[in-house]
Symmetry: C2
């Protein structure tokens, strides 16, 4: 999938990496702009051009997916790209409108305003500003770790459901029918099915034809070009021009039809020419409060998408990504979008891969893309007047189809049924309710399942293997044990979710065996003990003593021991009751002699 | 604090423990009723009597704390106790109204009805029914593990704040002033302070006097009695009668004053005589929905309080508690409360300890208590007519004072600043907003901090100690390393919260060292790998290969290895790249020869 040939030619970037002063940290652009090398120029120009060719139709398509006029997508592809080039720590991330964030924008704003109205467009500016501010604050407060809440199964479930929602939202354009906005995504399928008799055959022809051509370009065209003897660079560039081609051809067709203006084929219509207007969102408290949930989700999901692709691409060239700097760069880019008539943006997956494979060496390629988009809005918007909406819908559908990730679902299902449950819960909640509830359900499910898993840690009663110093699970191995002592190994860090199980384990051992006098708790797998577990341990010592049983610890890790010492637990518990190894504890308890 | 002398005389209960058939599991009462021993009777009768002496004034006081008429507390102390005796797996848990659940009841119902009204009383029945059903369902679904969400710091913060809230809610009775209900707890202090000039000196005298007597009984009376030569049993019983004494004396005082009926001392007034009425809550959907959050919190908090004390007391006699059976028993008790004019109940901490220390051997003591309370409502309610409210307030204040847990806060602060932060967040949120929000904030804070902690696992680059097979942290020990290989030990299970850090660790090692060709990931502390981490590992292998680096695994645990094999990771990754020990990996990579 990736062009690995490009990864060899930039070993020298580590030179930049060492020059890490504050300037470089706050403005990563200073890392490459001052010692820009002429030989990087061709790659940057070519990559910038190819991304621009992809981005012009994509940005309009995504804007319309978000319920916004097409020029908003173009506006969001100029200043944000330049801002990211200044602040971003990735050299190849291509920022701009993406499908997922567009869907989130529609879902969030659609709940409080009618798509297509001026209010809707104004709210998109507010949303971009809020997203930008949240990302900036998160970056400054170093809260990048919050994306850890989004587990892989939750993301797969969420993305797959979103792909279905996005795809189905475009079907009305492909079939040229009117479909009422629905409260819950799953109702959309029903509405589309009900209205199928109204299908506009011209729209369907344009839409289906566009999908066919796009799929051909995506999967076969490059191979055919190479087969015809074209150079790899040319083939690469031409194969990215599928969207541009369907835009041109379908616009010509629509223009031809419109000469006798009939057939009801929906077209984009007038796009104002000229650079983006300077805008400042007018803020109302009630609107801000209503948009907070979606702004938080866009901040996190957008950041997640960006950081994943940036990390992957950077690793190919042994470069580093700073997650908190990325948050700041994306935040600044979103603020930029909000003051130039745009809407929320983030780093796009496929676009960044294209930028990388096309040979982008520095963020100059993004600046080139931005300049080309600016030229487009200055000069070429009249050309898009007859662009059919069905064509843009086809571009969106082909782009999101690969987000529906059945393969990952199968893989996760095979590996862990609980993780698969989190995936399914997210997937179904997105379709049944909406995106925000879906993500909430997914995160909550993943957390509960994680707590459930760690609340029942693997616990093994162990015994001595022969005459060795090795101790193994009595259920799995032939081992020697003590009649009045029980050695228990707990395979988990001790924290609030499993303190109750720890207590149960200890007290059950005592209740089940009236002769028991000693318990050795083996802590070789305990990486930390939080204060809930400390409290439980302290109580367990007292409770066991009341029941006439002594507790001993063995194999406590260094960092854990340091903290137990500092809090005075070791003094109170008795240093003589803590053994370096289970072997020493067995020796101390005289287990050898008993048999 | 506990009377440990009682713990020796019941070693034979393990006989019951072995007879564990289904009947015994569903009706734990069958475990002791069929072979009840005459020598247990004295202890059960005495304990039942002492608990009843405590419970009569306490149950009235807690009912009034909950905004309910005093008889509701008495009603909640009859049938629920008998039901718990049938279903409960603890032999000594004393069920009934408790301070915390009463406060939660006031907080939850107070938001939708006026305290003291008939609607409020009706809602208490609904709440008891909902709590009962939730606990029953949780028990049947074996969801007892959900209490693991309530970490020790959150509980300490919550309980301490609740103690302040409860205490301050009683101040108006002590001072005999009127204080308007406030939306947020902290405002109560201000309102009380503002109204202090209106203080009723008679009320203050009765209230402060009661507090003084109660504190004397709680901390000094038993010691004094023993000093005077009384037997331990008598001293114990008499020292529990403090509440009864202040009730009697203050009632007499109020009766004397009321002969010329003046001074405005507030009294309990008429309590209807007779057994609890059979009630069935009339359910309205809107009320049920409004009460769901508080019913969930009461279910969990009540269960938590019960299970903690039941486990502690059971361990003294080597008995076992079944958490899910406890949920069923408490749930049934709450349903019982809802059909006999009561309100939500749970196992009380101090009351159960008294029951245990007074020699309760079986749940017969609870049945004795219930019968005595029933006699009280049948015969003695007219005696409480002149009982001053200030006295009941004093009983509540003394009971909850020990819940304010400064010692635990200091301990947790010293042990872990992050855990202390969760405690403080809970404490302040309860005072600033309300109980429900406080618990929510606490649980969320604890979870986020836990994720934060495990998202930054301890990672050590290790090297060989001398010529041994031991490998230690390069930062802490003088060790030998390889120039082109890096051995990394990650001290945490790999799951969604730390996969990003895992990826960063591996890719940073590569970016920082251009000569690096091999990475050995040591998994000795990895107890499980979830599907997010599996996905990251799979990607990391590819990304590292693209960067010209080989990844090896060492010391993978058995259960983890089993799952990696089952999913096909081992075959794809290459069995030859997984080593039993770090030593073998170093040998394979020829590190020895390099130096």
């Amino acid at each position: 999938m990736f062009d690995t040939a490009a990864s060899g030619n930039r070993a020298d970037t580590s030179k930049h990496g060492r020059k890490s002063n504050l300037l470089r940290k706050v403005f990563p652009i200073s890392g490459w702009v001052s010692n820009y090398r002429r030989e990087d120029l061709i790659g940057d120009l070519m990559a910038g051009l190819i991304v621009a060719i992809m981005l012009v139709p994509q940005s309009m398509a995504y804007a319309m997916l978000a319920g916004l006029p097409p020029q908003v997508g173009l506006y969001a592809s100029i200043l944000p790209l330049i801002i990211y080039a200044v602040f971003g720590s990735s050299r190849v991330l291509a920022v701009g409108p993406v499908a997922m964030v567009s869907l989130l924008t529609l879902s969030g704003i659609g709940a409080i305003a009618q798509a297509g109205t001026a209010e809707f467009v104004a709210l998109a500016l507010i949303l971009a500003l809020m997203t930008g501010v949240i990302q900036l604050l998160m970056g400054i407060a170093r809260l990048g770790f919050l994306v850890n809440f989004l587990s892989h199964p939750v993301l797969v479930g969420f993305t797959s459901a979103a792909a279905l929602v996005i795809g189905s939202s475009q079907l009305k354009h492909i079939f040229g029918i009117d479909v009422a906005r629905t409260e819950h995504p799953y109702q959309l399928f029903i509405n589309v099915a009900n209205n199928l008799p109204e299908t506009n055959l011209i729209a369907l022809g344009v839409g289906a034809g566009s999908i066919f051509v796009l799929l051909y370009f995506k999967y076969f065209f490059k191979r055919n070009l190479l087969g015809l003897g074209f150079g790899s660079g040319i083939a690469d560039t031409l194969s990215k021009a599928g969207a541009l081609l369907v835009v041109l051809v379908s616009t010509l067709i629509a223009w031809g039809i419109a000469l006798d203006s009939g057939f009801g084929l929906k077209i984009v219509g007038e796009i104002p020419a000229g650079l983006p207007p300077l805008t400042f969102p007018s803020l109302q408290t009630s609107q801000i409060i209503a948009l907070i949930p979606i702004a938080l989700i866009i901040s996190l999901v957008g950041f997640m998408e960006s950081i994943s692709i940036a990390t992957t691409l950077a690793s190919r060239r042994r470069q580093k990504i700073d997650p908190n700097q990325e948050l700041i760069a994306l935040g600044a880019a979103n603020v930029g979008a909000s003051v130039t008539g745009g809407y929320p943006v983030t780093g796009g997956l496929s676009r960044s891969v294209v930028n990388f494979s096309a040979g982008a060496n520095t963020n100059l390629s993004s600046i080139v893309t931005a300049v080309l988009i600016a030229l487009t809005v200055l000069l070429f918007t009249p050309l898009f007047y007859y662009l059919p909406r069905a064509t843009l819908a086809a571009i969106v559908i082909v782009a999101v189809a690969s987000l529906f990730d059945l393969k990952s679902f199968r893989h996760i299902w095979a590996y862990s049924k609980t993780d698969a449950a989190a995936l399914l819960a997210t997937f179904l909640a997105v379709l049944a309710f909406n995106i925000e509830i879906g993500i909430g359900v997914g995160v909550a499910t993943a957390l509960v399942l994680h707590l459930y898993r760690t609340s029942k840690p693997h616990v093994a009663v162990v015994g001595r293997v022969g005459e060795t110093e090795h101790f193994r699970n009595v259920l799995r191995h032939e081992v020697n044990t003590c009649p009045d002592a029980c050695a228990v190994r707990i395979d988990e860090s001790l924290y609030f979710a499993n303190t109750r199980e720890l207590e149960n384990t200890l007290l059950s051992a005592v209740a089940d065996n009236p002769e028991l006098k000693n318990i050795i708790l083996i802590c070789s797998a305990v990486n930390f003990i939080d204060s809930s577990a400390l409290d439980t341990l302290e109580r367990a010592v007292d409770e066991l003593r009341d029941a006439g049983v002594n507790l001993y610890l063995a194999e406590v890790k260094g960092p854990v021991m340091d903290r137990l010492k500092a809090i005075g637990f070791v003094d109170k518990f008795g240093k003589e009751n803590i053994f370096l190894s289970c072997h020493q504890a067995f020796q101390f308890l005289g287990c050898e002699k008993e048999r």
